[in-house]
């Protein structure tokens, strides 16, 4: 009994310190009614919507590829990725270009389409809560934690999981 309690204490302590390590600056954006945060160091730039070329044999959430100043990069529709309902692009819709490391250590540039970019917030370690468990009906693997800031709760995204690990190509 006591040993179990101690183990539980230890794991929460560990969880706490990994949450503390998440402290830092986040770029927040809106998707439906929710606000998400992206580690600012992973953000390369924010661009308006460019002409997208559809690529065959890709997952439904892949919009296609764009020409980012001479480089061809894939663009992901985050709404579709998260299973939110479709919404037509408007003048606030934009693409955030993120840079993540691929499994083989290469730098991958990927565009993610979001409803609207909000602000850059500084999140303190003590304001970060672990992701609550929603049971089996929702996959929380893409979420690092929840940040409570003045303007509300932001969902901190694990962008490496979202773009790096996801299977963009249909088998």
């Amino acid at each position: 009994m006591t040993s179990e309690g101690m183990a539980a204490d230890q794991s929460t302590a560990q969880g706490r310190s990994s949450l503390m390590a998440l402290a830092g600056k986040y770029l927040t954006f809106q998707l439906g009614g929710e606000e998400y945060g992206l580690e600012i160091l992973k953000v390369r730039e924010i661009i308006g919507m460019l002409d997208v070329t559809y690529v065959p044999q890709t997952a439904p959430f892949v919009r296609g590829v764009i020409n980012l100043r001479g480089k061809v990069i894939p663009v992901i529709d985050l709404r579709r990725k998260f299973g939110l309902e479709h919404r037509d692009d408007d003048e606030r819709t934009c693409t955030i270009v993120v840079e993540v490391q691929s499994g083989s250590g290469q730098r991958l540039l990927t565009g993610i389409v979001v409803d609207q970019v909000r602000e850059v917030v500084n999140v303190r370690g003590e304001d970060i809560e672990p992701t609550p468990s929603f049971g089996s009906y929702m996959d929380t693997a893409y979420i690092l934690g929840m940040a409570k800031v003045d303007s509300g709760v932001k969902i901190l995204l694990d962008i490496d999981q979202v773009v790096g690990d996801s299977q963009l190509v249909l088998a």
Partner: protein, 769 residues
């Protein structure tokens, strides 16, 4: 320790680090070292260190001398510098013996009054009489009697002691730098060592082999790679003996040098692998090689007696006539006289007959010397190393510039301005951007020379093993080829060259029997032809035997019957996997692997091979490659409003079929009859999975494409036209898309997809199956 001593110490330390990697002839670093020495001088003047001051002054004058080219032996100069800096460090620590500095400076001629030169300068122009290697041009390899002057240089200096003191942590960057550099050095050693085989006494060439070994030795010592250091040192030592004229480099000792290069290459690659895998380095047994080096060294002095004749390519007589210094007739007369008095040199005869002034002969000799040296110098081309990603970025940006420029020019408002000045300026801008794009593209190109020179070794080794005498001629080495292509092209070229040596050229006995010259010739030629790079591998051997090839192919089941096969078609069978006509399987070639690599690589590089052969006279393989891998010649088609690019090489024709030419199989498989052949119809729209209006083939167009002999009709809405596009990767995350080979930025800045014909065929089959 006071402040000044501290500053002096750190200056010396920096200097030591710089000198450690200093390479003879590297003027950039020379300059840095000189400015360092000047800083040191200023500080040393303020400090009470007379020894150090004298040493610095001495080293500075040595450095200046080296920069101005007054020091004949640059490598020796670098050695002296290294030792001098180590001595300076000792002086500063108070560890130097009294008088050691003065001794050091005096020994190198760097004492305050002394000149910068550490050695007596070598004869700049050999005295005309008795020195002229001038056999008659017609005579077969008449030995010139002129041994190169052997400058009495000091014997090998001990390895720099400072190397032992300077061992920073082995970090990746240093090691990678070393590996890259060392491999390049080894490459240049290889090239020059082979050159040395022809001109074993050419000091410049010996130097060009010696110096890289010296550098490898220095840096490997610095990185604590002792085994590499020791081997490089041993080889360096051997060459130093040759440099000093104590050893003549014969074919045997060049074999040793080449073997050393091979071992060093392995050791260096191993050190990199080991570092990356974070494991211990594998030990190499170099004792056999070292014993060979020792053997060469001990036999060296005796070898001097029977020097092999050097064969400098340009003859004095030719040079003099060409320069207009002496009339052709006078040279011919002099040559005639020389034949009767072989002990006299051409120069002497010419001068004695009054046909030429001694000064003219001297000038001729100078030119002759320069021409011989030119061969070595060419190896060191002027170049800058650039990270290829930077180059690709530049290419991307320039591509965008071209698009942006054309968008501005096409803007209706700009066009409506109707201003002459503006349109002239826009035209100028367009010219500049196009030129810029061409230049950037050209930066990806490298001369094929290096690849060709690697073949010299391949031919030499293969021919030696086979006991054949083979001469390799290189033509058009300056021809430029895409850098990425060079790497992929290397293996097939090796196979083809080996094949020519192994199977193409007959054995010496066979050649004698057929009245051919004993020495076989393999020619490698490169040239541009109609937007492609052609590489020819030509041999004057026995040629391909059509009947033999066919018999073999039938036996192996590669073809069913020989009927209707053209010669070239038959010859191409040798590229089929599992084909081999060699009666004896050698360890070089003849196992039937290898030549099919050629075929595979050609497909990958979008190139093709042509074979021409005359029985008994030789075979010519001509490889045609696109100028660059970065650009593809494409046919732009439109399907459901989207543009796709088909590689033009795959496109056979495009046409609008008639209704009666269309048929279906079991209601599903659609076929089109084209000139009597039924070809499956691929609806591109379905394959790429886009929504669009359903059309019938007779209402629109089909493009017939071919891949691996399979033909399909692709149904498209529109043909937009032919266009050259720059291929861009879609990135790693979309690598798995088989239907698409890559992307291309179209004229409007949007991405167009380049279709992979094989992928399209497969996707089509998958849909049907």
């Amino acid at each position: 320790m006071d402040d000044q001593a501290l500053i002096l110490g750190s200056l010396l330390d920096n200097l030591a680090a710089e000198v450690m990697v200093l390479e003879a002839g590297d003027l950039m670093t020379y300059g840095e070292v000189l400015s360092r020495l000047e800083q040191l001088l200023i500080v040393a003047e303020g400090a009470a260190h007379p020894d150090l001051l004298a040493l610095t002054v001495g080293l500075k004058s040595l450095m200046e001398g080296m920069i101005l080219g007054q020091v004949p032996d640059q490598a020796q100069g670098v050695e002296s510098l290294t030792q001098g800096v180590a001595l300076g460090q000792a002086v500063l620590r108070g560890e130097a013996q009294p008088g050691q500095t003065a001794q050091f400076l005096a020994a190198r001629g760097l004492a305050p009054e002394g000149e910068a030169a550490a050695e007596p300068p070598p004869d700049e122009v050999p005295p005309p009489p008795g020195e002229a290697p001038a056999p008659p041009p017609a005579a077969e390899q008449a030995p010139p009697e002129a041994p190169a002057p052997s400058p009495a240089s000091e014997t090998a200096a001990p390895p720099p002691e400072a190397a032992e003191e300077y061992m920073p942590e082995e970090d990746e960057e240093l090691l990678t730098g070393f590996v890259n550099e060392a491999l390049e050095h080894l490459q240049s050693i290889e090239v020059n060592a082979l050159l040395l085989e022809d001109t074993p006494e050419d000091q410049d060439v010996i130097g060009a082999v010696f110096r890289p070994f010296h550098t490898i030795k220095g840096v490997s010592g610095f990185l604590n790679l002792t085994d590499i250091n020791h081997l490089a040192h041993a080889l360096e030592n051997m060459l130093d003996q040759a440099r000093a004229g104590n050893l003549l480099l014969d074919s045997e000792s060049i074999d040793v040098v080449l073997a050393g290069v091979d071992v060093l290459k392995q050791m260096i690659l191993e050190s990199q692998d080991a570092f990356q895998a974070k494991r211990m380095r594998r030990a190499f047994d170099t004792s056999a090689l070292k014993a060979r080096i020792e053997a060469v060294l001990s036999g060296g002095r005796e070898a001097e007696a029977d020097k092999e004749p050097a064969a400098p390519p340009p003859r004095l007589g030719e040079v003099l006539v060409e320069r207009g210094l002496v009339p052709q007739q006078a040279v011919e007369e002099a040559l005639e006289e020389q034949r009767q008095h072989p002990d006299k040199s051409l120069g002497t005869i010419l001068v004695s007959k009054g046909a030429a002034e001694p000064s003219e002969v001297a000038e001729g000799l100078k030119v002759q010397r320069a021409m011989t040296q030119a061969a070595t110098r060419q190896v060191q081309a002027q170049e800058v190393k650039i990270d290829t990603t930077k180059l690709d970025n530049l290419l991307d940006m320039v591509g965008e510039l071209v698009i942006a420029q054309s968008m501005v020019a096409a803007n209706p408002k700009v066009q409506g301005l109707a201003d002459r000045k503006l349109s002239a300026d826009l035209a100028q801008l367009s010219r500049i951007t196009t030129d810029l794009q061409k230049t950037t593209m050209a930066m990806r190109m490298v001369p094929i020379k290096q690849t060709f020179q690697k073949m010299v070794r391949v031919v030499r080794d293969t021919a030696k093993k086979q006991g054949k005498q083979i001469r390799l001629l290189l033509e058009g080495e300056g021809t430029e080829i895409d850098r990425n292509m060079v790497e992929k092209f290397y293996d097939p070229l090796v196979h083809m060259v080996r094949n020519s040596v192994d199977h193409g050229i007959e054995s010496t006995a066979e050649r004698q029997a057929t009245g051919k010259p004993e020495e076989g010739t393999v020619t490698l030629a490169a040239y541009h032809k109609g937007g492609a790079v052609c590489i020819e591998i030509r041999d004057d051997g026995k040629g391909l035997n059509r009947d033999k090839i066919l018999a073999k192919a039938l036996e192996r089941g590669l073809v069913e019957s020989a009927e209707g096969m053209g010669d070239e078609e038959v010859y191409h069978l040798i590229f089929k996997p599992g084909f081999s006509t060699a009666e004896v399987v050698t360890d070089i070639s003849g196992r039937g692997v290898g030549m099919d690599i050629v075929q595979k690589t050609m497909e990958e590089l979008r190139g093709k091979v042509e074979i021409k052969s005359l029985l008994g006279q030789g075979t010519t393989f001509t490889i045609g490659l696109p100028l660059t891998l970065a650009i593809i010649d494409g046919m732009v088609v439109e399907v459901a409003g989207e543009r796709y690019i088909l590689p033009t090489v795959a496109v056979v024709e495009s046409l609008r079929p008639r209704r009666e030419e269309y048929s279906t199989v079991q209601g599903r498989g659609e076929m089109i009859m084209i000139r009597g052949t039924l070809l499956p119809l691929v609806r591109l729209m379905d394959v790429v999975g886009i929504e669009g209006q359903h059309r019938e083939p007779w209402e629109t167009l089909v493009v017939v494409v071919e891949h691996h002999g399979m033909r399909r009709c692709l149904l498209v809405d529109k043909l937009i036209g032919r266009q050259e596009v720059v291929i861009k990767s879609l990135g790693e995350s979309l690598k798995g898309v088989r239907v698409v080979a890559g992307g291309a930025i179209m004229g409007d800045g949007k991405v167009g997809l380049i279709l992979d014909v094989e992928g399209v065929f497969k996707a089509h089959e998958a849909r049907r199956g």
